[in-house]
């Protein structure tokens, strides 16, 4: 019997957006794991963590409040699940802030009224990896593996917002294991001692402060290479974007020659579950994950 969740895809996963490939592979992965994602109709942007300059606290919280309210209306019994770290964080923070502060609660209440909405705020806001770790479990994932990703050495880059401040399944902020466990579950070799697994890629500042951010991204790639990784896996669209698409520019800047694929955990799984390269969104790789392509082609 399939598990159902109220799904909040987020802007970057829309067609023609920077992590549309993430959504494609998530869909394939969920089909295999019998997870049913019921998309929240008419969801809006969460303002991520960079919207603050324009919007104050209340407008930002209201954005998430609207999504929560819509979810409650459409899927009253279901937890909200997001695949994007920023979406998850913003929505969960909003939900908690509304619980903690009556001032915010009242404010958002009034604001929502304007859109003809109201919220109970009684459901959890969760990240897709929580669903995998807590509800599905590694064993169940391993069961579904048809093409174990043998011989692949993969650096699990957890990044920031999937990790802090909430953490996944009570794991440590400094050295979480869940991503490595997933890598192991699909038959590949994790690099558990990957030093940069939780360091910051600069996030949105990659746009406004590219040089400063590149200084942060470089060591993340470097350490993966030094540890002999064939590729990097990540649960976060911003992490994926920053570590993959800027490799050219970083090579330009530092005279390096990085060319290491950065994939989503969902891509790994859907390949391991025997899905096609297209279903696994391998065509979405700016830097092709050749080894995965090969396995998918088998």
């Amino acid at each position: 019997m399939s598990k159902e969740y109220s799904f909040y895809p987020g802007c970057s996963s829309q067609s023609g957006a920077s992590s549309s490939n993430y959504l494609t592979s998530v869909n394939a992965m969920c089909e295999e794991l019998d997870i049913k994602l019921n998309t929240i109709d008419d969801w809006n942007c969460c303002a991520a963590s960079i919207g603050y300059a324009g919007g104050g606290e209340l407008p930002r919280v209201s954005l998430s409040a609207r999504n929560i309210a819509l979810s409650e209306k459409q899927h009253p019994e279901q937890d909200i699940v997001a695949t994007c770290a920023a979406c998850w964080l913003a929505t969960r923070e909003a939900s908690e802030r509304i619980k903690e502060s009556t001032k915010i609660k009242e404010g958002t209440g009034l604001a929502l009224k304007e859109a003809g909405l109201e919220m109970k705020n009684d459901k959890n806001v969760r990240h897709m990896v929580e669903v995998l770790v807590e509800d599905i479990g590694m064993a169940a994932i391993t069961d579904k593996v048809k093409k174990p990703l043998e011989g692949l050495k993969i650096a699990g880059y957890v990044g920031c917002q999937t990790n802090r401040p909430f953490g996944i399944d009570g794991e440590s902020f400094e050295n979480p294991q869940y991503l490595d466990n997933m890598v192991e579950a699909v038959g590949a070799e994790p690099i558990r001692s990957y030093e940069k697994k939780v360091s910051c890629c600069g996030g949105a500042l990659a746009f406004s402060e590219p040089d400063k951010s590149f200084n942060l991204i470089k060591p993340i790639l470097e350490s993966a290479m030094d540890n002999g990784a064939d590729m990097i896996v990540t649960p976060c669209p911003v992490c994926q974007m920053n570590t993959e698409v800027y490799q050219d520019k970083i090579n330009e800047k530092f005279g390096t020659n990085f060319n290491i694929p950065v994939v989503y955990y969902s891509t790994l799984m859907s390949v391991a579950f025997g899905r096609s390269a297209a279903d696994s969104a391998l065509n979405g790789q700016v830097i092709q994950a050749e080894k995965l392509n090969a396995i998918a082609a088998k």
């Binding site: 902020f173 400094e174 050295n175 030093e195």
Partner: protein
């Protein structure tokens, strides 16, 4: 164990550390019947694992020797080791207590000749040395342990080692048929002195105690400096056994921190200041850097702090270290910001000592009777506690001197209860 006489005029002291022993002796030396219950195979508790005391830099064994002699010569005091209180029922002036006695597998015949130790092969991590070395399966915790009676590790029972030990004993002191027993005692009042445990450094993830060999704790550092300790008094890097020169001390490792221990453990500042003396005494050209938030060398300890400040081998940096990484040659690298004027640092050391704080040994849920605790887990003084009185670090994070002070006070509180229920009490006799 059936020969223990206990009435509602008896004082039960739970915990045989410095606080428990002090409370027990003070009451016993005032003529009260006292039963002291200690979980370990020996009395003395944490202080026996310390190399020196601040601020006098004297040795805990010295005071412990006196206390042991007081205990040996006092007919009013009964000591039960390897014993734990499992239940307390009744009220002030009339308690019934259940005590679980773990088998020692060695009886009073033991002359502490040590032949059983030589006979057995199995080795286990030494609890006394925080696992820094191994000890035999038949052992005595440390030289001056009291009672001077050996112990067989339950893990060797049923193995050849057990029989080897038995055969080796010339005093017929080894009894492999010993089993756990539970006894019932009466008491009029209870002094609770179960003390503290060092905060688990593994939980302080940014400092990588679990990941980096050369990040150790202050309690381990104490053992290293003990001439009779696991390293024979040599300070060594766990990674390669080399003598560290550059040593950093990180204060408030787990204390004053909402993520770990909310309270200030009081002792850690003085402990680190003390340990800089070890560095100077035992390491040629050794240096100590102390990373702190506030140096809490309270009251007359201040003099000690001022002396250390004048020592050119010791530096103070006002900063909570953000995180530790590992550099060349397993050297820990401390990363953070010196907040006195904003100086960012990434300082490399040979070894780092985490000044871990004190956590109360017993928490509310395992407490054998209703008790009022604060959210830090220390026992509050409260009428609701009836005739149960906290002593030493069960009541707050205390240094040795304050712990004994607190223990002496608790002894009086217990004596007051006894004198009220007592058949012959000062009241009845009145004054001259």
């Amino acid at each position: 164990m059936s020969d223990i006489v206990a009435t509602n005029e008896t004082i039960l002291v739970v915990g045989g550390g410095i606080s428990g022993i002090s409370a027990a002796l003070e009451a016993a030396e005032a003529g009260k019947q006292v039963i002291l219950v200690e979980k370990n195979a020996y009395i003395g508790g944490r202080v026996t694992q310390l190399h020196k005391y601040f601020p006098k830099l004297c040795h805990p064994t010295c005071g412990m020797e006196i206390n042991q002699r007081r205990a040996k010569t006092n007919p009013n005091l009964t000591i039960l080791t390897m014993a734990e209180v499992t239940d307390i029922s009744g009220d002030k002036g009339d308690y019934s207590i259940k005590v679980k006695l773990k088998p020692r597998y060695v009886n009073n015949n033991c002359t502490a000749c040590g032949q059983c130790t030589d006979a057995v092969d199995a080795e286990f991590d030494s609890e006394f040395n925080y696992g820094l070395n191994q000890r035999k399966g038949a052992y005595i915790a440390y030289n001056n342990a009291y009672p001077q009676t050996y112990v067989l590790d339950e893990r060797i029972i049923g193995t050849d080692d057990a029989t080897k030990a038995k055969d080796a004993c010339p005093a017929d002191a080894i009894d492999l048929d010993m089993v756990e027993e539970s006894i019932d005692l009466k008491a009029g009042a209870v002094v609770w002195a179960t003390g503290w445990r060092p905060f688990d450094a593994n939980k302080i993830q940014p400092y990588g105690y679990d990941r980096f060999d050369n990040v150790i704790t202050n309690v381990e550092f104490e053992r290293m400096n003990d001439l009779m300790g696991p390293t024979g008094g040599k300070v060594v890097r766990p990674s390669d056994g080399a003598e560290p020169k550059k040593i950093a001390f990180i204060q408030c490792a787990g204390s004053r921190d909402r993520n770990y221990l909310k309270h200030c453990s009081r002792i850690c500042c003085m402990a680190s200041l003390k340990q800089t003396h070890y560095v100077r005494e035992n390491i040629t050209d050794g240096t100590s850097d102390i990373y702190y938030i506030d140096i809490r060398a309270i009251d007359r300890f201040e003099d000690f702090y001022q002396k250390v400040q004048q020592d050119e081998t010791v530096k103070f940096i006002k900063s909570k270290v953000a995180f530790i990484t590992e550099g060349e040659n397993n050297n820990p690298v401390l990363n953070g910001v010196d907040t006195e004027g904003y100086h960012r640092y990434a300082n490399e050391y040979d070894m780092v000592v985490l000044a871990v704080g004190m956590e109360p040994s017993v928490n509310q849920s395992d407490f054998p009777v209703e008790i009022v605790m604060n959210e830090e887990g220390f026992i509050e003084m409260d009428e609701k506690n009836g005739g149960v009185f906290a002593a030493g670090c069960s009541s707050d994070a205390l240094d040795v001197n304050r712990a004994v002070q607190s223990a002496t006070a608790s002894a009086l509180r217990a004596v007051q209860v006894i004198n009220q229920v007592g058949a012959v009490s000062p009241q009845n006799e009145g004054a001259k």
